[in-house]
Symmetry: C2
Subunit: 433 residues, 2 copies
C-alpha cells in the first residue's frame, strides 16, 4: 500500500503536537488507517528551536512553498494561524490539488465560502475537525452520526479560557481580573486573552457549526457577540441563589422562518448537564428531531487534544485515498445549496433575563423600576433586595419571565437614566431549557 505523504506548515504548539502524535502512535495509526502516514516536509520561519520532538533536520524548510509545491505530498496541514498567510497557503495547496487539514477557525469563519469553493473546484477535501473544540469530534458527528437530523438547538461552551475564568470566579469567589492575572501567570491564558473573553473565538466556532448545518457559509458578522469581562462575583453569587451557573454560551436555535445565532454570557440551570462543564473543558449540547438531546464534552484546546483532531482528519483522508475515493469530499453538507435562512435580529429575541440594578436605597425605588419594566411588558419572576443603608447604593437583583429583547433594552436604558440609579444595569440572559 502506497503511503500517504503529509506536509505540515506551521511548527508551533499544535504543529509540534501533530508531529509528536504521528510518531508516538505510529503503529495504531497505521493499523487503523490501513496505510502509512509519512511526514514529508515541515515548514516554519523558525526551524531552530527545540519543540520536544525529534525530527530529521532535512525535512525542515523555512519556505511554505517548498511544501505546497512538493509533488509527492498528498495532504497539507495548515497550522500557522492568522488570516493572510494562512489563506494564501490553504488556497495554494488546494489549487495544487492537495487535500488540506486546518485547525484555523478564524480563517474558516472569515473565508470559508471562498475556500470551500476552491476545494470543490479542485476536487480535493478541506477538513477542519480541530477548528471547533479541539478534541471534541463534533464536526465528524454532525457530518456523520447526526447527519439525518434536523438540529433545532445548539448550546455550546466553546472557549476553554472563558470557561476556566468563570469556573474560578464561581468556585473561589474571585474577580475577573484576579483570575485572569493568575491564568496568565500560569500560562493558561494569553496576555491579554482578548479574543477568548470578548466572545470572538466562540463566534468563529459557532459560525463554522451553523455553516455546516445550514449547508452554506454564514457571515461571521451576523452573529451577536458579548463577552464576559463585565461579570462580577456578585452576579455569579446571585445566579447561584436563583439556581443558575453563568457560562459564556454560543446559542443557535431554529425559530419560525429563521434562526437565532448569538454568543453571550448566560445563566443556565445548575442541575443541567451543561452546567457541569467546568474549568477549561468545552461542550456542545444539541437537539435533533430524531436523535433527541445530545452532549459532546472534552478539551477544546491545547497541544495534544488539538493534534488528536488534526491527525484524525489526516487519517480520514488517508483511508479514503486507500479505498479509492475519487473526487471531492464535501466540507459542508450541501450538494445543492439550500435556501438561505434569515438570522433574526437580537431585538426580536425572546428570553428570560437577570438584572442587577445599582440603586440608591430610598423608598419607592423598587416600585419605580418595576413600573418601568411593567410598561415595557416585562414581568418579574423573582427579586432579591439586600442591605438597607440610607443613601448608599445597593443592588436590586431580579429575574424576569420571558420578554422581548427590544423592550428590555428600552426599559433598561430608561432605568439607567433615573436619578435613584447609581450605575449601569447588568443584564444577563437566562437559558432555561
Amino acid at each position: 500500500m502506497k503511503p500517504v505523504n503529509v506536509g505540515i506548515i506551521g511548527f508551533g504548539t499544535v504543529g509540534a503536537g501533530t508531529v509528536e502524535l504521528l510518531l508516538a502512535n505510529k503503529e495504531i495509526i497505521t493499523n487503523r488507517t490501513g496505510t502509512d502516514i509519512i511526514i514529508k516536509k515541515i515548514a516554519d520561519l523558525d526551524i531552530e528551536s527545540d519543540r520536544g520532538v525529534s525530527v530529521d533536520r532535512s525535512l525542515m524548510t523555512t519556505n511554505a512553498m517548498d511544501v505546497i509545491n512538493d509533488p509527492d505530498i498528498d495532504v497539507i496541514v495548515e497550522l500557522i494561524g492568522g488570516l493572510t498567510k494562512a489563506r494564501e497557503v490553504v488556497t495554494g495547496a488546494l489549487k495544487n490539488k492537495k487535500h488540506v487539514v486546518t485547525a484555523n477557525k478564524a480563517l474558516l469563519a472569515e473565508y470559508g465560502k471562498e475556500l470551500y469553493e476552491t476545494a470543490f473546484n479542485n476536487g480535493v477535501s478541506l477538513s477542519f475537525e480541530a477548528s471547533v473544540c479541539g478534541a471534541v469530534p463534533i464536526i465528524g458527528a454532525l457530518k456523520n452520526g447526526l447527519a439525518p437530523n434536523r438540529i433545532s438547538v445548539i448550546k455550546g461552551i466553546l472557549n476553554g479560557t472563558s470557561n476556566y475564568i468563570l469556573t474560578r470566579m464561581t468556585k473561589e469567589g474571585l474577580t475577573y481580573d484576579q483570575v485572569v492575572q493568575k491564568a496568565v501567570e500560569m500560562g493558561f491564558a494569553e496576555d491579554p486573552p482578548t479574543l477568548d473573553v470578548n466572545g470572538t473565538d466562540t463566534v468563529h466556532k459557532l459560525t463554522i457549526l451553523i455553516s455546516l448545518l445550514l449547508g452554506y457559509p454564514v457571515a461571521l458578522q451576523s452573529i451577536y457577540r458579548e463577552g464576559i469581562v463585565n461579570l462580577t462575583p456578585d452576579d455569579i453569587r446571585f445566579a447561584d441563589e436563583f439556581g443558575y451557573r453563568v457560562k459564556l454560551l454560543a446559542v443557535a436555535r431554529q425559530r419560525d422562518n429563521g434562526i437565532e445565532a448569538r454568543v453571550h454570557p448566560a445563566m443556565i440551570p445548575k442541575d443541567s448537564i451543561l452546567a457541569r462543564v467546568d474549568d477549561e473543558f468545552n461542550a456542545i449540547y444539541l437537539e435533533g428531531d430524531f436523535v433527541g438531546p445530545s452532549l459532546f464534552y472534552g478539551l477544546g484546546a491545547g497541544r495534544r487534544p488539538t493534534a488528536s483532531a488534526v491527525v484524525s482528519d489526516i487519517m480520514g483522508i488517508a483511508r479514503a485515498m486507500r479505498l479509492g475515493y475519487r473526487g471531492f469530499m464535501p466540507p459542508l453538507s450541501h450538494f445543492s445549496l439550500q435556501k438561505e435562512v434569515a438570522i433574526h435580529s437580537m431585538k426580536d429575541l425572546h428570553s428570560a433575563y437577570y438584572f442587577r440594578f445599582s440603586a440608591f436605597d430610598s423608598p419607592g425605588v423598587l416600585s419605580m423600576i418595576a413600573g418601568i419594566l411593567g410598561e415595557h411588558d416585562i414581568s418579574i419572576s423573582s427579586v432579591i433586595q439586600k442591605g438597607r443603608e440610607q443613601n448608599s447604593s445597593v443592588p436590586i437583583v431580579m429575574l424576569t419571565h420571558e420578554a422581548r429583547e427590544k423592550n428590555v433594552i428600552e426599559a433598561v436604558s430608561k432605568i439607567n437614566r433615573l436619578d435613584i440609579v447609581s450605575g449601569p444595569t447588568v443584564m444577563v440572559r437566562v437559558e432555561e431549557d
Copy 2:
C-alpha cells in the same frame, strides 16, 4: 446520480422509525448524502399492522430472502433482533455482496468475528452505529475523530432502563420493585426487563466497544457481569451520604499487560459529569492519550434515536458509494490483527469498596468485622453505624481504601459466616477517578 437502494428486514419499532426518518427528512438526507436513498423492499412476518408510517404495500414482503436476493438492493438493514434468524439474514446479505447495517448488539457480541470476516471476504461493509447507545455516535467517534488515540479508560452508562430505574430509586427513594412495576406499566421497560437489569445488554455493548478498540473480537464471556437487582434505597442513600451516585457501569481499563473489562453497579463521585447522566440517558466517558477526557451523552434506545443511528450508517455507505469507494470498509480498526490482550480476572481487580453489613447490634461487632477486613489487607476509609437497638439487626456501612478483590471476596465470605451477622453483605465497587 444513481440512487442507493435499501432493503429493510424487520419492520418493528426501529424498522418503522427508520422508514419514518428516511421519509420525513428526505430532503436533508439527500442534500447531505449527495444521492437519493430509496426504500426498495421491507420484509416482516407481519405486513398488516399499522406502524404509523405510510409505505407502499407493494414494497412489503414476508420473505426476507426476497430482499437479500434482490439484485437492485445495495444496502440491507437488519432490524429483526435475536440471534439465529438475524445471523442467517446478515450472512446471506454479505455473501450476496450487499453492505449491511445492523442495530443488533447481541448478534455482534456473539458472532462478530464470523460476520466481520464474511464482510471482509465479500468486500462489503458491516455498519453498526445503532448497536451501542442508539443515538450516541460513539462508534463513529472511535473509528474517526478519536482514532489516533490509545484509549486507556472507558466508563459507560450503556443501558437506559437500568439508569432510569436507579435514577428513580435515587430521586424518589423507591425500591427496585416499585420502580420496575411503574416502568413496565408505562411501557418504558420490558416485562420483566431481565437483560437490561442483569447487565447482559451492557456487556454486549462493552464487548463491541472493546473489540473496536483492540482491533479484534473479544469473547463476550470474558467480561464480568453483575446486575442492579439487589440494590436497595438504603444503599443509594448511604452512597449519597458518602458523596456518590450509584450507576450500572461498564468499565474497560488498560492495566499493565492487559485490560479490565467489567459491568456492575458502581458508586461514582456525585460531582463527576457522569453522575449527571440520569433517567433513560446513556453516556460514555473515555480517556485517550492525546484527546484527554471526553464524554458522549444522549438517548440510548427508542424508535427515533435508534433510527437516527441506522440512517446515519446508510448515509455513510451511500456517500462512499457515490464517491467511488472500492472494496471493504473495515468494521474494526485492524488491518493486521493486533496481538491479543489478556483480560484480567476479577480476582486481581484493585478497587475501593462500599460494604453494608447486616449485623446484630451487639458490642464488639464493628471491631470483629474490622478485624477480619484488616487480616485481609483491607483498610477502612469511613464508617456509618446507625441505630442502637439491642438484639436487632442494624446496618454497618463502610467505605474502604483500594483493596484487592480476591481478598475482599474472602473477607466478606468469612464475615457472612459470623453469628453476629444476620444477612449477606452488600458490596458495591467505588470508581473514584
